[in-house]
Symmetry: C2
Subunit: 345 residues, 2 copies
């Protein structure tokens, strides 16, 4: 049981102190609060194995617009006694009720985790590698793909070198299970030329170096940097990335456009940095990124929610009937529109 | 993508034909339909690893009370673009909308599964065994505990003998991972006297025999048999079973009372067979089973929903504020009360 204002990292530590594991983890663990994680249904790096924030919740306490306190502090994994009300409030960004406390689901610790960095030549091979790793390794708990430009920019800025050559994709895989089985798996993948190169982190410090490239703080210094968080069926992400890059470079040939993402859960992030011409602004980038996405029936928000900035684009991902149902829920639960006004819908 | 009327087993086979795995599985796989599985948020034997029916759904098509078709046929694992509407309809037993089609989430096949039967002396040891197995085995995909009376009744009727002696608990564990690691794990548990005996199924046929005891068709012949499906925090299930048995036997000393359940997901099932005195009926059993459960803050429905029979007891598991919110959702989505009338609330 945690209060909504507790930082995520504090929740993780409290679980670890009891020999248990809170499966929600994201780069901002030190500053984000669990209440925000739940109201936005946060994702992060463990989704591929444990699901999103929604799946880590057993019970909730929520304050409704009329002041009613709904205490659904369920502690059971299974409870089909009536409607499962918590899902109304998880991911609705505070527009239907305010989450004040939660009962979190904890897991047994996953055991020793091995971190590896794998170089791959094509997006199709990234997907094949994902499927193979999920079938053949003990338990894949992270799978983070970085497209060449993203990896190179951050690794160069951090003065880190992992491989002799540049590769189209670098993937961080984390898995439980015996070390020998992981080595055999990578050797077999090399043998079959499914992968080009691989490196198993020899120490916690080296694993942290790999993750520092993925967390990508260097890229944040780029001018006018925009970060996108989209999702589309896993098999289409490679083509989308090519089409999106082409469309952005056609308009701004000097733009930095790079991709990274969890892939295994259909989520990819895009970094775009460009200098706008007079009269242009960030919305001209939005229009291209979301416009290309519409052709692939993707979602404009995988894990970061809608908020204010994406509200004008929500109709690209949801049908008029869905939007009408969302509005009717909003009106039923918050008829005066006092909860987080102007957000989502 | 499946239509609501497709039998579950057919969905499983279609996934397998594509080299994939549908993680929803329950005894009635041959007769139940996926639409019913979703509208009741079915559980089954894989919940401990893969979650309930809700977690196997990416998208839904639903018909609302006013005839609107909501097509939320999302194919992405992550999609935080506005409210996640599917959760309104999953588990609400057709009272808020009728599920007509679904996009199901498939997993890579779990690989070779080893089935074992383990004998244990106390409920606390069952819980310790669960935690140890989850930490130390490759991937526990089923954990089904049977209390002595349940196991003995079914094994005797089926003329199956697994161990030399009767044990307080028999547990079916299914796990992926190398056979040697499983043997080592069981040997260590025996050495530490955490378990009393263990048997690894030598063939698919022997695994089916173990499961036939768990599926428990013989017990269905008992007169006036009532089956309950409750959930309570895992650590309390042992005490609840003792208290519930004592309360039922105090009223009907000849009653058959036995327990079995998934345990790892907080769910236990109860079989009660007794001859009523004149003027008594099944509600006298309900009153005791749910009455004792109330003391443990358990839920009157873990995976079988509420329907008609449990409606009078729903207030035992949900607060007046929760019931009011459910009613307001029902009124908002089905103002004329035409969807599955008389069910749930």
């Amino acid at each position: 049981v945690v209060k909504a204002g507790t930082p995520l990292e504090e929740c993780q530590k409290a679980a670890a102190d009891h020999g248990l594991f809170l499966a929600l983890d994201l780069g901002s663990r030190g500053s984000c609060q669990i209440g925000g994680n739940l109201s936005t249904n946060a994702g992060g790096i463990r989704v591929i194995r444990y699901g999103m924030a929604r799946e880590q919740v057993l019970g909730l306490e929520v304050v409704l617009a009329d002041g009613t306190i709904i205490s659904s502090m369920n502690r059971m994994l299974k409870n089909n006694a009536g409607y499962d009300l918590k899902h109304l409030f998880i991911g609705s960004e505070g527009t239907l009720g305010i989450i004040t406390r939660a009962v979190l689901r904890l897991h047994p610790p996953p055991g020793e985790i091995t971190t590896m960095l794998v170089a791959v030549s094509s997006y199709d091979q990234v997907v094949t590698l994902l499927r193979r790793a999920q079938s053949e390794l003990g338990g894949v708990v992270a799978f983070e793909a970085m497209w060449r430009d993203y990896f190179a920019f951050n690794a160069d800025a951090l003065k880190l070198t992992f491989f002799d050559a540049a590769h189209a994709f670098c993937v961080i895989i984390e898995s439980t299970g015996p070390r020998e089985a992981i080595e055999e798996f990578l050797a077999a993948c090399l043998q079959e030329t499914l992968i080009d190169d691989a490196l198993i982190a020899a120490s916690h410090a080296q694993a942290r170096e790999m993750w520092s490239v993925r967390e990508g703080h260097p890229i944040e210094v780029l001018p006018n940097l925009l970060n996108f968080d989209v999702s589309l069926p896993i098999g289409m992400i490679g083509d989308y990335a090519k089409a999106c890059t082409a469309a952005l470079k056609a308009r701004w040939p000097q733009a930095h456009v790079s991709f990274y993402g969890h892939v295994g859960d259909s989520n990819v992030h895009i970094c775009v940095s460009t200098l706008y011409a007079p009269g242009e602004d960030m919305h001209s980038v939005d229009d291209i990124v979301y416009g290309v996405l519409g052709h692939y029936h993707g979602s404009i928000s995988a894990e970061h929610g809608i908020g204010t900035l994406k509200r004008p684009y929500l109709h690209l991902s949801r049908s008029p009937q869905e939007l009408a149902l969302m509005l009717s829920l909003k009106q039923s639960l918050d008829p005066k529109g006092i909860l987080n006004p102007g957000k989502v819908i």
